[in-house]
């Protein structure tokens, strides 16, 4: 197994862990964290492809990772603020109980 | 001769490395570099606790420690023996794993920052390309350790202290980084060694330190204020104010773990002071051109001790801030000043050297400083305080 392959497999595993967390956890904060984890695995892919790619001097992978980290930080801030607002409204962060829109 | 004295540690290390086989040399080199730092700075911590207690005693018109050894010099040893032999009490409801890991993480994170500090000429553990970024990245781990300590103790005092500490550290990390950006802009590098090299050289007898420019002195002042807040020292010691929440996040710790917290806090203070020296005070370079014969590491530690003396002086002089004062100082004064200072450094870089540059750049930072200070005083009444029950 080559190196790039192992990095990609690790990244796929991280993505699946994040996806599993986002799909199965009840706590809204942990769901958000699962999404962060998926973003992280995408970043890992960018860095791995940049390192093994034909033109590492172009820095495109690094740039993409930097911008993606910034977006993830903004997303975390806004997401947690929304969770706080929702908590204030419904007094819970349990996603199974936030079902007032259910028909 | 002076050069040999200056490089004595580097030469000793190379001499010692000559005795080990070539295959083991990288690991031995790393150990020989790391161990002195692991011993030297805790030693400095011991000396500083004595200095601090003596200095505070002077400021408060009392003796300070004077029972153990001459002038109480053995007080740190007595303290160490005491904290090592004390019973290690863990609260019954505490989260034992996290409770144990918190002081370890704090001390480890505090040590990691020293990897990029140039202590003397050719005396830096790692000359990292992104050294300053590494320093701040490692510094941000401390916040997590503080939270772990406060949360795992299951005590309302420690949780309150941890929340206060994290809020304060996050608020002051922004101005800390922004204040250091001016030095990075001027040096054009994030490497600490390159920043020190940029400040080398003398005009007449005066050095080219960044602190001797309008943006440098403002940056240094802001950096030191933010560093005081980052290391939770008076007057920013709300997270561990003894009279309010006893000791804050580490109240439920005893014995050696408590000592580790103390050590971590002081190591953090030394590290940020060392970074201030690197960024603004020319690192290990001598303050006058005729003093360059004194070894470089002596100058680094002299500057460090001078900054520590400043910390002790401030602790003995200023009263503790209130939480709202703390936050308004960070967001209404230090942050705008740091942003303006960056603009100032940019203008300094592109203006031709001369008196006009000095005047313009001084005006850009001095006028807003006065105005913002006036703004902070607005809507506040300053009068003689009357104590209703103390008569």
């Amino acid at each position: 197994m080559s190196s790039l392959q192992s990095y990609l497999l690790l990244s796929a595993l991280l993505f699946s862990i994040g996806l599993a967390g986002a799909l199965t956890r009840r706590n809204a904060i942990l769901v958000l964290i699962g999404i962060e984890l998926m973003l992280n695995s995408a970043n890992l892919n960018f860095i791995a492809f940049w390192r093994y790619g034909p033109a590492p001097a172009k820095l495109t992978g690094i740039m993409f990772a930097i911008f993606s980290i910034s977006v993830a930080a903004a997303e975390a801030a806004v997401g947690l603020a929304i969770i706080l607002a929702a908590y204030r409204h419904s007094k819970t962060t349990d996603l199974d109980q936030m079902n007032s829109l259910k028909g | 001769m002076t050069q040999a004295l200056d490089q004595i540690f580097v030469l000793t290390k190379q001499w010692l490395l000559g005795f080990v086989p070539a295959s083991a040399q990288p690991i031995c080199s790393a150990i020989l570099s790391v161990v002195p730092v692991l011993i030297g700075f805790p030693l400095l911590f011991a000396i500083t606790t004595w200095l601090e207690r003596k200095g505070l005693g002077r400021l408060q018109n009392r003796y300070g420690p004077n029972r153990t050894g001459p002038y109480g010099l053995f007080q740190p040893i007595a303290d160490a023996i005491k904290s090592l032999t004390k019973e290690d009490i863990v609260p019954l409801t505490a989260d034992h794993t996290v409770h144990f890991l918190a002081p370890v993480l704090l001390a480890a994170a505090s040590f990691l920052g020293y990897a990029v500090l140039p202590i003397g000429r050719n005396m830096v553990l790692v000359n990292m390309n992104a050294g300053v970024l590494y320093f701040f990245a490692v510094g941000s781990v401390v916040e997590l350790a503080v939270f772990m300590a406060g949360w795992s103790s299951r005590s309302k005092y420690s949780l309150l202290g941890a929340m206060r500490a994290i809020a304060q550290m996050i608020s002051y990390e922004v101005p800390l980084v922004l204040a250091s950006i001016v030095a990075i802009m001027q040096a054009g590098s994030l490497s600490t060694v390159a920043i020190v090299d940029k400040q080398a050289g003398y005009t007449g007898i005066w050095p080219h330190w960044f602190v001797f420019t309008p943006w440098g002195v403002v940056g240094f002042a802001l950096f030191m204020i933010a560093a005081t807040a980052e290391s939770n020292r008076s007057p920013f010691d709300l997270p561990e104010g003894e009279s309010e929440i006893i000791a804050g996040y580490y109240i439920e710790y005893s014995g050696f773990k408590f000592a580790l917290f103390f050590l971590g806090e002081y190591l953090g203070m030394f590290a940020t002071s060392g970074m201030a020296i690197t960024l603004f005070l020319g690192g290990w370079s001598a303050p006058f051109s005729f003093l360059t014969w004194i070894p470089s590491y002596v100058w680094f530690f002299a500057k460090l001790l001078a900054l520590i003396a400043g910390f002790i002086w401030i602790r003995g002089t200023l009263p503790r801030l209130r939480m709202d004062q703390l936050m308004s100082l960070a967001w209404e004064f230090i942050l705008p000043m740091a942003l303006l200072n960056m603009l100032d450094a940019g203008i300094w870089h592109f203006m031709p050297a001369g008196v006009l540059r000095w005047l313009v750049c001084t005006a850009i930072v001095a006028v807003p400083c006065v105005l913002l200070g006036q703004g902070l005083k607005r809507n506040k009444k300053f009068q003689v305080r009357t104590y209703q029950f103390a008569k």
């Binding site: 392959q5 192992s6 | 996290v98 990245a137 997590l144």
Partner: protein, 166 residues
């Protein structure tokens, strides 16, 4: 494929798996920081120093702290512990496992991913700064705008409006 990578990969996967599996939310976040730090170490191993350090600063220093703050602020002491996983946890895990199976199959069967390690690229922070200021200046500006908007938006959303209606 070195020993370092294997160790880091095991740490990362263990940390993230614990973060998604543990019962206590604060423990989850603490385990997650281990995972994030592991990813940062892998970046460092891939010679992406700047990204690795940024990762530590942003994720360990900011996102994890934000998450624990949110957990502290939304903590309700309940007499009975609610279940950790949602009602359709089985379906969720099956979907995640299927996604991993598909991704792993694609990676293993791809020919492009079998090449060796090219020589170490010379990437200094200066080059990254140059690229950010010249080639990528528009994304950088947009990012600044986005972060400002996120800052203001987060404050507005999370602000307690009860004081106004008092």
């Amino acid at each position: 494929m070195t020993v370092t990578f294997l160790i880091l990969a095991v740490i990362t996967v263990a940390g993230t798996a614990a973060a998604m599996g543990l019962r206590n939310a604060v423990h989850c976040v603490l385990a997650l920081t281990v995972g994030f730090a592991g990813v940062a170490a892998i970046y460092l191993q891939l010679d992406a120093q700047f990204v690795g350090l940024t990762q530590i600063m942003v994720y360990v220093g900011a996102v994890a702290i934000l998450a624990v703050f949110a957990i502290m602020m939304t903590h309700t002491p309940l007499p009975a512990k609610p279940p950790t996983y949602s009602s359709f946890w089985l379906l969720g895990s099956v979907v995640a496992a299927a996604v991993f199976a598909v991704l792993a199959w694609a990676i293993c069967s791809s020919a492009a991913s079998t090449q060796g390690l090219p020589p170490e690229p010379e990437v200094s922070v200066q080059q990254i700064g140059d690229a950010l200021m010249h080639q990528f200046v528009l994304p950088l500006e947009i990012m600044g705008l986005l972060l400002t908007a996120a800052l203001i938006g987060a404050v507005v959303i999370a602000m307690d409006r009860r004081e106004e209606t008092k």
